[in-house]
Amino acid sequence: MLEIVDLHVSVGGTPILKGLDLRVPRGEVHAIMGPNGAGKSTLAYVLAGKEGYERTRGDIRWDGKDLLSLAPEQRAIAGIFLAFQYPVEIPGVNNAYFLRTAVNLKRKARGEPELDAVEFLRAARERLRLIGSDDGLLQRGLNEGFSGGEKKRNEILQMLMLEPELAILDETDSGLDIDALRLVASGVNALRSPERAFLVITHYQRLLEHIVPDRVHVLAEGRIVASGGPDLAQRLEREGYGWLAERRRASEALG
């Protein structure tokens, strides 16, 4: 279970998250929607452990353990995975080498035998088929010159290979064509299980037609301002975020 309590985070001295509360039990998929600049990626980065994101108040616990005290690599080994909104291009690092090393680092930490090159390739091909790609991407530099959609697929491939326990997908759907969207969603659905939790950040209800969430939250101005079932996403799609702001103003006026 992921538990975020009263989280305040500043970036370069500017408060971005301002009292965010969120609980995602294992086995559930929660979607986070919200306007540009609301702090969605900030939340994702804080969970993954990026430098420069300063917690000024509050806590993040994963299975009761203090997540913020762990280095990014320790979080990865503990089963946390972030599919980046903007995956980084690293020319000169072979994608297959990178991914195999990442998989083996995790296997080693768990006391499992490492995959050799052949076993790795077999496993990677299986996953690639699931998301409708061939292994051309594997032989290239890590994200080097990948199209927007290829980068997103590569993130999903990594997720499928690393089999995380908490996966955070930051706008993995943006930049994907309709077919790719469906394939990526089927990749995520293949991984859904009672042991895993997902946090899916998206702007579009369409993704949530394929990955049906247990809960939908709206993040605005650094906080969760509304939560509901999948129908909340449909309403946002129809009406935008304006009504939420009005509702908030009204409740503040009353309060």
Binding site: P72, I90, V93, T101, K106, L162
Partner: protein, 438 residues
Amino acid sequence: MIAPLLQGFLDEFERLEAAMPGYEQAWLRQLRRDRLDAFVTSGLPGRREEAWKYTPLKGLEQRAFALPRGSALPPPLPPPLDAVRHRLVFVDGRFAPESSRLPADAEIEFLPLSEVFRNHDAAARFRIARLMGSGEDALDHLNAALATDGLLLRVPAGRSVREPVHLVYLGSKQSSGRAWHLRGLIELEGGARLRIVEHFYDGGEEAELSSVINEIQLAADAELELVRFQDMGARSILLSRTRLQVEARGRLRITAIDRGGELVRSEWLTTLRGREAHGDIAGVARLRGRQHADQVVEVRHLERDTSAEVRFRGVAEDQSRAVFTGTLHVAPGASGAETRLSSRNLLLSPQAEVDTRPVLEIHHDEVVAAHGATVGQLDPEALFYLRSRGFSETMARAILIGAFLEEISIRLPEPRFAEWVSSRMGLDHPLPWGGEKT
């Protein structure tokens, strides 16, 4: 008062001169004395001398070094050298025949310089007199006065030597404060082809001063590929200078990696003398601790349609300092010349320093010339991306440094050697360092 280093060399010379190979040759005796005098007169270069601005050697004059006596046992050769067919080993500035091998079917003419000093005909005398007489700065003087050995190598016209020749320069470090010097001549006759791998390393961490000056001549249509891996000990001072002359349509490809040493100067002075001569010179400096490396590349385009590409990559960590000077000179007659230089550098700590100087001297309008120099840091976004996938910070840094050097490192010839180099450089991940890609 004369500085201790100069006095030391004078005393050593006096004691050892009569035992130097070729002492009985009057012309050689005179040449050595003249060059020693010239060295003592000039002294080591200081900060005022533009070419040594970032690496003044003046401070060294307060130290003293002894010339080697007797022959030293070579330290064990690094593993990639075990299985090689052609290797010429020099220990403490002397040819070590027991560690060397060059089967006759190599079809290369080789003689140790010491042997030719003792015994030569008129033609050989002309060759070595030119070799010992060339150059006119302090380093040339010092080396010519004190080098008692080196290599004379010749590949006859039209021969193509398949297996690379490994040249191994090493210090035994059997005592501290040694100084050794080597001078050599490598000639590729018309259309000859040769690959050379140079290894510089030591048997320990004792203080040492060495100088190696080689002249390399490529006749028309000759091709040379030269790879250097310099991995000297933490207290070694190495002054190396390679002069290269390339005649018409000759092709030169150099990959020079400086990883070791306390203070290292590596000069690659190239003259493209004939039409369509080509030079491709790349290098890496990978420095840690208090290391100082000064890499110098000079390419002189004398003829039409000559071309050159110079690419150097520096990585400076801790309190180290990487200096690079790249000079591209195009002479007035060299129309159609193409010349490019790039120097890219990574500063891995706030105490490290990089000084890079690209210099263009273009005396002709119809040429293509480009140069660029950058100094940057590891990309924090890339570091975080790798760490978020479970790579430790140390591993992530090594991978990114390896990636930064990849365009040079892929030029290393054999996977076994490439792996050895990458592990010695702290980049021990099978890829992206993995030898030439297919």
